[in-house]
Symmetry: C2
Subunit: 325 residues, 2 copies
């Protein structure tokens, strides 16, 4: 290894911390700086932290900046702003706003000779790759995405807004029966209720009406009313002991038909103990790709669709062909 | 659709026939000619067939030639020879000889401004892609490939060479128990015998000693001795009715660790009614990629590792971002 890729992290929550841990597994990279909106001295890391305002001073010292902020409010500003100064990678995941975000980042990056890989992670990201691959190989077919078993932050937040709820965690769980029907090549039409179930664990405030809480959750429009939802009441100690991890995962399946009547099933699945650590590991692999693309003189916004897998690896093309093809 | 990609097929066995069927599912392509070493008038297709010797006359009339010959004797000659005249795609699958084959095809293609995508299909091909992706994201981990349930031609041929055997088909089957241990994150060390079982269906010659046949199969070195092998004797009608299809499939799993102790599992699986039809569908998607790469002015040998998934699809980048990301 002659030269390490110098990485910066913007935002040090669960995802930023995951990126820090992932970089330790990749000897061709090193973490040089963390940028935060918090007080830098309060960041619990051995890596030096700086105010996000100071980032532009590092334009010559950081090869790729990994943006670890959220898609709701952080990335819409930070994405284009950092793409003007650095090669960047992010996990922007508001599916409906990706085209608009792509255009904004592309303009910022292209104009400054930078490469920005947007919307990596697993959905968008690895799941999207598999949807594209499977559709291209089996144009006559039907695609299914199942999420879980895993914690949905949005649904957990919705539970916590119910009056009388002290803590709440929601797990999205694919219906085993629905998955089996797809795997068997039945090409079923599946309603929202048939695809996933929702399981809620709630710590109620002292003296709260548990039946009323459960009813309010189960009938909540958009979040729970269209699903089979179960609500379990537990005590605070159980919540802490059993529901602090952030597992997730899911499946992308395509059931297609070739020739006269051959059913062909392509399945991609993830089973993750830690959603933020896995997403971080994907970001780090795409940071390597951003670095390689930049060295070739490329610029502009890219997605996972635009990047050959060889760019994700520290190995040479010849080594990949010899060992992995 | 303004312009269709003009495809030629070299070799009209199961794979070539599969390519012909797959092209019908892709309106941006059309099959213009089949090239064969057999008597062209004997090819049972509506597409015009020509002697393989006449292929070079079509240099300006075929955009991509899909080479459907075998890896043992056809492709080592045909690959470099056709790469001099046409953009090509093939499914060269002798893993150990890929580096050498890559270099030969690369030299032929580069020198003539042609693009040749080698070793597509599913293994090598989609399985290789998943090995590379998973290793790049989870550098600390262990990879497992399971094949089947499916027919192995090599093992079926070996059965048929046993004295007293009239017909024979061999299925490779992953051990459910081994797969479950990997999915559970146990990172097991699995012996050859633990990973797959082999199931043989045999039609014996009249009066043959079935016990001796079964014993000879089960103890055959390299092919069966290292596996738990079962041998079933069936009659010819059952063989024809139940064992004529060519199903296959398999799994690529990587079990990795991130952070301090999070187990992360990435799994890719195929369940195929028809192995040759599926392989053909992969070849056709990569023929589109070869065409797009050539239009950009690229040349030389490429593998699945070098090609962004966007090139496999007839859709534009903007449409892919809007609908699949």
């Amino acid at each position: 290894m002659t030269e390490q890729i110098r990485i910066g992290i913007v935002g040090y929550g669960n995802l930023g911390r995951g990126v820090e841990l992932a970089i330790r597994q990749n000897p061709d990279m090193r973490l040089d700086a963390i940028f935060t909106r918090r007080e830098p001295s309060a960041i619990p890391s051995e890596t030096k932290a700086y105010s996000i305002e100071d980032a532009e001073r590092f334009a010559n010292d950081i090869d790729v900046m990994i943006l670890c902020g959220g898609s709701a409010t952080d990335l819409p500003d930070q994405g284009p702003a950092f793409a003007r100064m650095f090669h960047t990678v992010d996990s922007f995941d508001t599916h409906a706003r990706i085209p608009e975000y792509f255009d904004q980042v592309d303009q910022a990056a292209s104009g400054n000779g930078k490469v920005s890989v947007i919307s990596t992670g697993w959905d968008p990201g690895l799941f999207s790759l598999n949807r594209l691959l499977a559709e291209s190989i089996l144009p006559e077919g039907k695609e299914y995405t199942f999420w879980g078993k895993g914690v949905s932050q949005g649904h957990s937040d919705a539970i916590r807004r119910v009056s009388g709820v002290k803590h709440g965690v929601q797990y999205t769980i694919p219906s085993d029966q629905a998955v089996e029907r797809v795997r068997n090549g039945e090409n079923p039409e599946l309603s929202t209720r048939e695809k996933h179930i929702r399981e809620c664990y709630v710590v109620a405030e002292e003296g709260a009406d548990q039946a009323a809480i459960a009813e309010e959750i189960r009938t909540m429009p958009n979040y729970f009313a269209d699903y089979d939802t179960t609500v379990h009441f537990i005590d605070e100690a159980t919540m802490k002991a059993e529901h602090r991890a952030m597992p997730h995962g899911g499946l992308v399946l395509r059931s297609g038909r070739t020739g006269e009547s051959s059913t062909q099933i392509i399945e991609f699945g993830l089973k993750l103990d830690s959603n933020p650590e896995f997403t971080a590991s994907v970001l780090v692999a795409y940071a390597r790709a951003a670095y390689k693309l930049a060295r070739e003189g490329q610029s502009g916004a890219k997605t996972v669709f635009d990047i050959p897998f060889a760019y994700l690896s520290p190995k040479s093309g010849a080594e990949l062909r010899r060992t992995l093809l």
